[in-house]
């Protein structure tokens, strides 16, 4: 068996003096959809940020069998890792089109995704293509951040809480885009608090608690395991 696309082993991370991640170990295969579940503050976002090099990691992070721990964020992104931050970090003073344009890593290479693809999935973005991104609604901004990252043509996209605070219709649209992404053979690491989308689309799930992985299995395993859900997920 070939090595997984992303392999994280014994990952530790710190914010100042506080120890956030206590040896997180997990992996994602090529083309796989994996969800990372858990309550707020258990270290899910920190895990992604450590992989992207935004938080200094300790331990081993291998992407395509190459150690990426210690690399700079832009180098990691250029290897094919995409990150969609949870705070809908659009560039508010630029237009929707300019935001998407900056998602491209270079103007020379065309990736799997074109701006037209994005507009096909989200016609709303095309209507507002020349509007400043800062005036978009929360849901539209969420779409824009996802599409912007896809414009960089990642092989693995890590998405932090894409449905947080969205109306049900928007959640459905996000689900549609996730299927579209998976359909093109791109791996997804979905960080979520709610089970709705995660159970439906994931191949495998991890549950985090107190900076560690406390459960790993298929959606079926998790559905059967009421104990884990009660202890680590339900509020």
């Amino acid at each position: 068996m070939s090595a997984p696309l992303l392999q994280v082993q014994d990952l530790h991370a710190f914010y100042g003096k506080s120890h956030i991640l206590h040896g997180v170990t997990f992996d994602i295969a090529a083309g796989e959809i994996v969800s990372m579940l858990g309550r707020n503050g258990v270290g899910r976002s920190t895990t992604i940020k450590a992989i992207m090099g935004d938080v200094p990691p300790r331990g081993s992070i291998r992407f395509r069998d190459r150690e990426i721990g210690g690399m700079k964020p832009h180098q990691i992104a250029r290897l094919g890792l995409g990150y969609v931050p949870e705070n809908r970090d659009i560039f508010p003073s630029l237009t929707v089109r300019q935001n998407l344009y900056l998602g491209q890593k270079s103007t020379k290479k065309t990736g799997r995704w074109s701006m037209a693809d994005m507009f096909k999935v989200f016609p709303r973005l095309e209507e507002r293509a020349d509007t400043r991104a800062g005036v978009l609604s929360g849901g539209e901004q969420q779409m824009l951040t996802m599409c912007r990252t896809l414009m960089g043509d990642p092989d693995l996209i890590m998405i932090d809480e894409p449905t947080e605070g969205l109306a049900p219709m928007m959640v459905e649209l996000v689900g549609k885009l996730l299927s579209e992404i998976a359909g093109r053979g791109i791996s997804i690491l979905l960080v979520e608090q709610k089970l709705t989308i995660a159970l439906k689309i994931s191949h495998r799930l991890y549950v985090m608690g107190h900076g560690e992985i406390v459960f790993s299995g298929t959606p079926g395993d998790l559905a059967a395991n009421a104990g884990v859900r009660k202890e680590w997920l339900e509020v």
Binding site: M52, P85, Y101
Partner: protein
């Protein structure tokens, strides 16, 4: 009277545009680093001295191009090997670093070119009268300065708003982490912005040197006014920097030209009322006016005229 207004406006706009050549770079650098670069006016001075030295050897026109590039390289090196290392220790060490750098540059300039002003003159090809109005002549060199400053302003707008690099810079100023995670090399962009900002200050120095005085104190003389511009305009706002540059330029130029005093306005009897204060002319207090404006703005609108950032 019309004569004074016309020429003061011209001179004020010119001075304002020169200020903007420095303020624009300083504002971009401020947005990026989060601290003011105290050495920015020193790059302006370096531009003037490099311009002087190159003019003397191979002529003014090559100097106009080469000197700003050299200053830009010095700026980029300062960012790469100085500020970037100091950055991780926080804002106060960064501020102290730029403060110290300003002194170092001044001392080095004095060691090489001496304490007295150098003989940096308007090039003969530009040393003629542009036009004559109401018996007063206006030098062509000042029109040339104005053209360069306006050209730079237009170029800056086009680069920032119409090019990919400009868009990446705009995004990096507010969201550096996000830009990096999209695969753009933010540290290198910052170095380039610092270098380009220094080069602009250098260009301002090259063209202002012959019109004003090229001396080791020129950085220390201009620096405080520059900070007034940045604060009045609003920290981090390019539009604000432009408006404030023109405002300060015009206010200072007009103030010098007005010889009125309180006694003139309210009549001789008022002179007794105001005492000595009544006879002080506006021209005499001209140098204080920008700082008065600074204090006023900080009291009424601390974010500056166009600023949104709290500092």
């Amino acid at each position: 009277m019309l004569e004074i207004i016309t020429f003061s406006t011209l001179n004020g706009v010119l001075y304002g545009m020169v200020l903007f050549m420095l303020a624009s770079g300083l504002t971009l650098i401020f947005s990026m680093m989060g601290v003011l670069n105290f050495a920015h006016a020193s790059f302006y001075m370096l531009g003037a001295y490099f311009g002087f030295e190159i003019s003397r050897r191979i002529g003014f026109w090559p100097a106009l191009i080469v000197a700003p590039i050299l200053v830009g390289i010095v700026g980029a090196l300062v960012e790469r090997f100085g500020l970037r290392r100091v950055h991780k220790f926080g804002h106060v060490p960064e501020l102290l670093f730029t403060f110290g750098l300003a002194f170092v540059i001044e001392e080095v300039v004095q060691m090489i070119w001496g304490k007295l002003p150098v003989d940096y003159r308007v090039p003969p090809s530009l040393d003629f009268t542009a036009f004559r109005l109401f018996d007063t002549t206006y030098p062509a060199y000042k029109m040339f300065m104005l053209a360069i400053a306006i050209g730079m302003f237009v170029a800056l707008l086009v680069v920032l708003n119409k090019t990919r690099v400009g868009l990446i810079i705009q995004a990096s100023l507010t969201h550096p982490n996000t830009v990096a995670m999209l695969g753009h090399d933010v540290p290198t962009i910052f170095m380039a912005v610092f270098g380009a900002g220094s080069a602009l200050a250098g260009l301002a120095g090259v063209i202002a040197g012959p019109a004003f005085v090229t001396q080791p104190a020129m950085a220390a003389l201009l620096g405080p006014i520059l900070f007034v511009v940045i604060v009045v305009g609003g920290l981090g706002s390019l539009g604000g920097a432009f408006a404030a540059s023109l405002l300060i330029g015009l206010v200072q130029t007009f103030a010098v030209a007005i010889n009125g005093s309180l006694a003139d306005i309210f009549g001789a009897s008022a002179a007794d009322w105001f005492g000595d204060l009544g006879t002080v002319t506006v021209a005499q207090i001209a140098p204080i006016i920008p700082y008065f404006l600074l204090v006023l703005v900080l009291i009424i609108k601390p974010t500056g005229l166009f600023g949104t950032r709290e500092t």
